[in-house]
Symmetry: C2
Subunit: 257 residues, 2 copies
Amino acid sequence: MRAYVITIGNEILKGRTINTNAAHIGRVLTYAGYDVIRMVVVPDEIDEIVWAFRDGLSRADLIVSTGGLGPTFDDKTVEALAKALNLELELNQEAFSMVKSKYDRLGVELTKERIKMAYMPKGAKPLPNPVGTAPGVYIEYAGKRILTLPGVPAEMEAILDEALPQLRVPGRYYYEESVVVRGIMESALAPVVNEVMRLNAGLVYVKSHPKGIEIDKPVVEVEVSASGSSEEEVRGRVKEAIRQLVSRAKSINPQCC
Amino acid sequence: MRAYVITIGNEILKGRTINTNAAHIGRVLTYAGYDVIRMVVVPDEIDEIVWAFRDGLSRADLIVSTGGLGPTFDDKTVEALAKALNLELELNQEAFSMVKSKYDRLGVELTKERIKMAYMPKGAKPLPNPVGTAPGVYIEYAGKRILTLPGVPAEMEAILDEALPQLRVPGRYYYEESVVVRGIMESALAPVVNEVMRLNAGLVYVKSHPKGIEIDKPVVEVEVSASGSSEEEVRGRVKEAIRQLVSRAKSINPQCC
């Protein structure tokens, strides 16, 4: 199952905000059994957001977006989502109750900016926001699932946590382990990485992440990961590959790891 | 001038690594006068990287990528770049000298993994890497500029710093300032934001970033920014819009800011 992550917001494009949301979602979905195949960041513009949802729908089984769900003029995600799906935008009664109850508690009136957060594409299901006000949006379309979340990290995380049990890919497990290799240049470790990949072709993925300075002070973190239908099996494959890697790296530099 | 940012690496898609590179590049390019219009993250797969470069070329004047320049099997960026541009991949003599001199210093041989880092599309210019080994790649194609940088942040930043003077958009300035508004819900501030946008239509951009809890403890950071051909003018526009915003916000809650 393939997942696609969309981040909406000019502040990300301008580098004003680091996109920790995409990383969080990527992590959660990977461990939920998905292959995250693409992430995109688009501005607060309808046509760009529409493009992102359509690109996601053409490539993945699950699309998760963050940002653009609030009460301001540049919160355009649900409008764009409706357009991307050719669905009508309507006042969702369940979402309206959620939004209303939040403001009722404070005794403030429901202005059009507040009611805006209860509009959703026809057929969408609002997801309660335990932290903030704007509900998340869940919709199924052409066999694909779309989850639209707020951009505030605490709100995004809370709604995603709630939705996760339904999103998890049944019988699909991911496992990952890393080993830090010191005193071997990444270029010298490359043939070892290649060999371990060959020995476990299609079963594990090995990637080296240089953390030091290639020539003067080489430190390489090697990540080994696997996905499969048994938790025990993927863990076993990763551990065996790590063992192969460490034994070969030690033959280059016995103090490496 | 429009810029497009590509991040290459499975570790970003899996959320193992937070994409600080894209934020850094977005920030630097915004202040260099670009509109960053899209960011994408793609896996270490040729076809996906080719797609990203082509999507960038079809939309932007400058494309900056990070990741996939190293010595390992999954460093595929230059190969994909050559394919995206329909150019031959060749051993770049200038890049070869750069790579060779790094390893010569240590007296180690130039294995094929090390020489790999000197291959570039025909016509590309290598950019010296003062921190690591793999040179950056600069190439002009169909009136567009492409800058390909390593994924290690210190290396990426150093090469980008060096390249920046040539990339800067002449006579284009960006300025941004923020004000923190307390005790006014984002939904109550929305009409104020709208009004300030209307008063300065096309001149400034105003975006509210909720930082607290909408109903119980509202804290909203309002960002005002402008781009234009005079540094003084954009600064003046932003400061005037901030003044309008603060005066209107204070009429809702005098202690707000």
